[in-house]
Symmetry: C2
Subunit: 387 residues, 2 copies
């Protein structure tokens, strides 16, 4: 298996973007990543996107976007794993380069979510749950994550304020990120006073609906060294992907995420690392409870102590393990198919020492964790500065 590095990164505008379509946003991100890499050609493209069919009536994004970029001809593959689509696009591109099927691959993610009504958007997102046993009886994602939060509070004593602390921290981080959709700082009191969505989750516990795209350029290590231009080379040291029982009701325990644990273990093993080696992480905080459970599942904190992490300041910038320095899904925004790739964009920015006011000093090893649904699919990547 060949070593693989990330040699270019790019983001489109993120937010409610009314003057650009999916293909325009995607092309913004793709061109930014190619420009960052100093390349005008790639060998293949992967595109993570959850549901262009339900959001904009368009499938077949591989051919469409290769054409839009002026790269018609290259292999171009869309992958989908609900909100983990971007992470899967990154892993699929990794496999292309690792196998030697391509030397330089553009791994991307995109979602255009605001072209439909709020109800239609909720319905499209619900397609990430089990249509027969979850959606038909009326469950939506806020409701499913609310059940996970309730179970975690009952089992571990996690408090309403600890959930809020995750949102407060991530908004503070996002206030330092010019790409973030919501850059205002918020307080625990703000979260507690915000509108109820599905108890115990309020609106400020939930990531927003976002249009946006993200792209990274992957290359084999030899090519990466040739194109480094004096910048640190960021290697993909470990990749891990796993699945779980689809419906929340099928799981033995609603307070754990076995797919995240398994994906993490695979990535750690490939990288020859342990949780203690991770200096910063971008994880899937689609709801505040998610960040808490994910940190426990990855072994980044002891089981049951996820609620203490943000509250104690450990996972804030300046703490021992900054989590979601970008602002996370909560503040930066969550264009679902783009999120997994955008997490890698943030970690590479940090490992290059180019994150400005949100820089984690001396960062050399970072982790991304991206998941679909209530955790029925998860992808973990470990990135490090190549020595």
């Amino acid at each position: 298996m060949r070593d693989v590095a990330i040699i270019g990164i790019g983001l489109s505008r993120w937010g409610e973007i009314w003057d650009a379509s999916l293909r325009t946003l995607w092309t913004e991100a793709a061109l930014a990543a190619l420009d960052d890499a100093g390349l005008d050609h790639i060998d293949a493209i992967t595109v993570g996107c959850m549901s262009p069919g339900l959001f904009i009536g368009q499938e077949h994004l591989g051919g469409l976007l290769a054409d839009e970029l002026g790269m018609a001809g290259v292999p171009a593959t869309r992958v989908e794993s609900a909100c983990a689509s971007g992470g899967v696009a990154l892993r699929t591109a990794f496999a292309e380069v690792a196998a030697g099927l391509a030397d330089v691959v553009l791994a991307t993610g995109v979602e255009k979510m605001t072209d439909v009504s709020g109800d239609e958007c909720t319905a499209a997102l619900a397609a990430a749950a089990d249509a027969e046993v979850e959606v038909f009886p009326g469950a939506t994602f806020p409701a499913l994550y609310a059940m996970m939060a309730r179970a975690h509070m009952a089992r571990h004593g996690t408090t309403r304020e600890q959930l809020a602390a995750v949102a407060v921290k991530n908004h503070r981080h996002g206030s330092l990120n010019p790409h973030a959709q919501f850059r205002q700082q918020i307080s625990v009191a703000d979260v507690l006073a915000s509108a109820k969505v599905a108890e115990p989750l309020n609106i400020l516990d939930c990531s927003p609906i976002t249009d946006g795209a993200a792209a990274v350029v992957l290359a084999d290590l030899a090519t990466a060294k040739r194109l480094a231009k004096g910048r640190p080379i960021v290697r993909i040291a470990g990749v891990g992907q796993a699945s779980d029982r689809m419906a929340l009701q099928s799981r033995r325990d609603m307070t754990t995420l076995p797919a995240t644990t398994a994906a993490g273990e695979r990535a750690f093993k490939m990288a020859g690392k342990a949780p203690v080696d991770i200096q910063l992480a971008e994880v899937h905080d689609c709801f505040t409870i998610a960040e808490i459970v994910v940190l426990e599942a990855l072994g980044l904190c002891p089981a049951g102590q996820g609620g203490l992490q943000a509250e104690s300041g450990r996972t804030a910038l300046g703490g021992a393990l900054p989590v979601n320095p970008s602002g996370g899904l909560k503040s930066k925004g969550h264009p679902v198919g783009a999120t997994g790739v955008a997490q890698a964009v943030e970690i590479v920015t940090q490992l290059r020492g180019a994150a400005g006011p949100r820089q984690v000093p001396g960062a050399r090893v970072g982790l991304t964790q991206n998941m679909g649904g209530t955790g029925a699919s998860t992808v973990v990547h470990i990135l490090e500065v190549a020595s």
Copy 2:
């Protein structure tokens, strides 16, 4: 890059299946392939499916189907490239094994198309075309392929009867295949007298709407040899994928398929083979004109002579180059996401010498070609009996 072989194959029931859902059909095919391979575990799953969102309101098929199979835990990835989704699922699984990320991968395809009305089905399939410049002005796939047929007739003198000969041949082949959706033989006169869809294409020029699934088990060559049980080992000697301008109107020429040509060239190069080495092929005859243009694009006949191939008997069972011995999309059926995998199921069956009355005698090298939309994506695989 590790050598990869196909060690198990399976199909679900194909047709208008009213008593089974997508997950049930998929599991039928998956279990058949695992049984054929003699395995009860795999390392990863890929799923090709074009639009479960628009057809059944369900995305996130990776986690859903891994769970359905009792394999929750393994990495499970859905890929989509419109009607080439199955071929892409096969190639993605190939990359997993070739890279060494997995030793045994279940590559699958599925589509459940008959749970929506005919109009909804047409709209879902149209999502494979460019929504902005093709679908909005009113184009559907029969119309787009009709334009390709008109252009081919004008350029090369291809006749209405030659188009019909493709359907006649493929129904004759399908009459020998117990898995085919339509097993009745038809005549040129039947095709000419059938209802007009989009001139010059009649209903008997069009592949049907089909529910179904297909699965193959891939393994590295060492594992394949260990599990061979005396059967011939079928190796994936070459893979090729390519894209093209998305909209038909953007192409320089409506009578050629550059992505098919490029994907074929990549597969031939990897396999160290030329078109003359191919003994049988399964190609994407979604409409009769498609088989004609594809044979030319792959170099399996001279440019402009595709129309003569079925008419002369060269591509019939018993001819020099049998094409679509399974019955093809036209007779066997076309559950769009499953088709690319089902093509591999047929070639493996033939290379094992297990195709019964439709066996191509002495077959040792076969090709599959699967494409999306009007050819904006194409995947080619070359399979051969390992010496």
